[in-house]
């Protein structure tokens, strides 16, 4: 039959469409939640780039602890040649070089080393975006852990991480996401057992220092106040109970503690005498992006109230607009 009944005005339709789309428009005024705060007993690490000599003991130790194979490049079997994080490299030391690379820790004509490993964000993007809660944030220690048993491999954690930390094992048919779990994953549990992370334990210079975030931040702030050329007593190992100290001349620190505030802060913090954008750190503000995304999501989907309202309006309108067109043949749809 011909179903051209224009008695109905489209007024009802307009109202419903407004309800259906209204939710999205509302998001324009959605208030993002605040950044999360550091966990009460957050543990972390402080990486002082000026202390790192590039020995990569931490890379090797990390692979031992996590039972991962070394990356071999060419004939160099004496050291791990991993150049970046991957499905089986959770910690890597990269080198910054400029011009003649003559002076350590100089931005121009210099070189320095930079560690890449999970920053254990205070407000982690990977945890926020994961649909199946396979990324988790320990509420006490702040350690960000991964749980492959529920992971579907959508890799949203990878794109949602400002530092590209979670890495998928692309070269295996049955691969998984891997990332640093601060040596506290099931079967390792070094932190729960009162030990420190593997990388901090083997670091000969204290470039990687383990400990409570509060103490590490305090230490970093103190180093910011030091005068170049003075002698400072650098601790090694765990800052709450250092193995030992050693005296060293103070470098020309940049007045920037990476991870104090970036995107809500991180539990692994970095300090350096070369600016962080040169060391490949991302351009982050203080706001964490996932906090904005969550604000939008919760405005639209809180208790599914808006969708339910829209569905009710749509059902009513569609019913109105189809009921008077029904014929014997039922040729609607």
């Amino acid at each position: 039959m011909k179903r051209r009944n224009f008695l109905k005005t489209s007024l009802g339709g307009t109202v419903t469409a407004a309800a259906a789309l209204g939710g999205t428009v509302l998001s324009g005024t959605a208030q993002a939640r605040e950044n999360l705060e550091p966990a009460p007993e957050a543990v972390g690490m402080l990486f002082d780039s000026t202390l790192c000599v590039g020995c990569k003991a931490c890379v090797t130790k990390c692979k031992q602890v996590n039972d991962m194979p070394p990356t071999i490049e060419g004939d160099h079997t004496a050291w791990d040649s991993a150049r970046d994080l991957s499905g089986d490299t959770l910690n890597v030391i990269k080198v910054y070089q400029n011009g003649t690379s003559a002076t350590k820790d100089a931005e121009i004509d210099g070189f320095c080393f930079e560690k890449r490993s999970c920053m254990h964000c205070v407000d982690p993007g990977c945890v926020s975006v994961c649909p199946t809660t396979s990324m988790q944030h320990n509420p006490i220690t702040g350690i960000v852990t991964h749980h492959p048993e529920t992971c579907i491999g959508c890799r949203n954690c990878m794109v949602g991480c400002p530092y590209n930390v979670p890495q998928f094992q692309y070269n295996e048919v049955f691969g998984q996401i891997n990332k640093c779990q601060m040596c506290n994953q099931k079967g390792v549990e070094r932190i729960d057992n009162g030990q420190m992370t593997g990388c901090a334990e083997v670091c000969p210079t204290g470039a990687t220092l383990f400990g409570p975030r509060k103490l590490l931040l305090q230490e970093a702030k103190q180093r910011m106040t030091l005068k170049k050329g003075d002698i400072y007593n650098y601790p090694r190992g765990d800052i709450s109970k250092p193995d030992n100290y050693y005296e060293k001349e103070v470098p020309d620190y940049k007045q920037h503690i990476w991870g104090e505030k970036e995107a809500g802060g991180t539990n692994v913090m970095h300090i350096s005498s070369v600016s962080f954008d040169k060391l490949g750190m991302p351009p982050l503000g203080e706001r964490s992006a996932p906090s904005v995304a969550e604000g939008v999501q919760h405005t639209l989907y809180s208790y599914l109230a808006l969708p339910a309202l829209a569905l009710a309006g749509l059902t009513y309108t569609v019913k109105q607009n189809t009921s008077n067109h029904d014929d014997d043949d039922g040729g609607e749809s």
Binding site: K2, R3, T9, G13, A17, A20, L21, T24, G28, D84, S86, G125, S128, V129, P131, T132, S134, P148, E149, T150, C151, I152, G153, C154, R155, N156, M158, V159, P162, N164, F168, Y170, N171, E172, V173, F174, Q176, I177, G280, P282, A289, P290, V292, A293, V296, Q297, H298, P307, L311, L314, T315, T317, V318, N321, T322, D326, D329, G331, E332, S333
Partner: protein
């Protein structure tokens, strides 16, 4: 007598066999991806570009191409524009196929495909996750589309009683079929928010992402209807449906103006208009993209041009390209995960995507020939 007819005719035509060949080649690479080599063996995905064309084309753009059923449902059932009704069933079929294959695309992109069901288990759900909303919503919508298309199959099978009962509750599925795409098409935009700085500032509009994504999805939905109706008219030598499409052209004009106002308004409000003329790759892509948005606007603004089938087709194609480019630009082309990462899809990766598209087209051809999908011409 049904208002719809099966087109009939030979199935194994030359174009069909070519599509079959493309699909067969892709099967080889799918085998490699799932059985012998893993994702790394067939794709150029890496630590910085975790999402390549399988996500961005097959899911993000593919489902927008599949918004024809959604866009028409809004016009017909919400705004009571009954005159477009004959276009609905073929559009629903295209949507069903587009979404089903988008779902399949998501599956072979899934790193841990063997436990895909974990996303359906409520105790795993993370309600902060945009991806959760997208995954569940798309899955349910595929079922809803199947229900919306079921009448065609039931008519073919002569199941009158079942058809009658289904028609009694169909309005529920139609309502859901409008709500669900509204939710997940906007969420596809929201996925970009958490990527923060990796998304180029010209596309990273933060909390406005869902609105822009939704508007482009509806625009692409109407455009694909223009495209499909024109192609079917030519390909199957049917009577022109231009008279119906003209009205769609008018709807597109309104939406397109709204979209451009919102887009440039947001960029102005966020102080980013200067970036358009920065002269870098992103600014070039942005300008190209917006030229593709503005050409159809110019074409469709004139009532004379709106009445010409060929002009409508050009406008539709431009808009489809514009909408696709909008998503490609944001998710891939200007996406910058940081130093050291590059991405260009590998040949096997492209072949798998082409295979999926070929399969979709083959299924469409077979179904419109066998099932009553197209509107009877004398009624048109």
């Amino acid at each position: 007598m049904s208002q719809y007819q099966a087109l009939g005719g030979r199935i194994l035509t030359k174009p069909f066999m070519v599509l079959g060949l493309i699909f067969a080649i892709s099967l080889y690479f799918m085998f490699e991806r799932f059985v012998t080599g893993g994702m790394g063996a067939v794709s150029n995905l890496n630590g910085g570009f975790a999402w390549g064309i399988w996500v961005v084309y097959d899911v993000v753009i593919g489902t927008a191409f599949a918004c024809g059923g959604y866009a028409l449902a809004i016009a017909v059932y919400v705004f009571n524009k009954g005159q477009y009704h004959p276009l609905v069933r073929p559009a629903v079929l295209a949507s069903l196929l587009g979404y089903a294959l988008g779902g399949f695309g998501a599956f072979f992109d899934m790193g841990r495909f063997w436990q895909f069901y974990e996303i359906f288990l409520p105790w795993n759900w993370n309600f902060n996750s945009v991806m959760l909303e997208v995954g569940l919503c798309v899955a349910i919508y595929i079922l809803v589309l199947a229900m919306e298309f079921a009448p065609a199959l039931l008519e073919k099978l002569g199941q009158k009683k079942l058809l009658k009962s289904l028609n009694k509750v169909l309005f529920l599925f139609i309502a859901l079929g409008i709500l669900l795409p509204t939710m997940h098409q906007s969420s596809l935009g929201s996925l970009l928010i958490a990527m923060g700085h990796k998304v180029n500032p010209l596309w990273q509009v933060m909390h406005m992402q869902p609105l822009l994504a939704l508007m482009t999805a509806i625009l692409m939905g109407f455009s694909i209807v223009l495209f499909e109706a024109s192609t079917v008219t030519v390909g199957f030598k049917r009577k022109s449906e231009t008279h119906m499409l003209t009205g769609l052209g008018k709807i597109i004009v309104g939406l397109l103006i709204a979209f451009l106002v919102v887009r440039f308004g947001v960029l102005m409000f966020q102080g980013k208009l200067g970036l358009i003329f920065a002269g870098d790759f992103a600014s070039f892509m942005f300008i190209l993209e917006n030229i593709l948005f503005v050409i159809p606007l110019i074409i469709l603004l004139s009532p004379e041009r709106r009445a010409q089938g060929s002009k409508l087709l050009i406008a539709g194609v431009c808009l489809l390209l514009a909408g696709s480019l909008y998503r490609f630009d944001a998710f891939l082309l200007t996406f910058n995960p940081g130093p050291g990462y590059n991405y260009f899809p590998s040949v096997p990766e492209i072949m798998i995507t082409l295979g999926v598209i070929a399969f979709e087209l083959m299924a469409y051809i077979v179904i419109v020939k066998l099932l009553p999908v197209m509107h009877r011409e004398e009624h048109a």
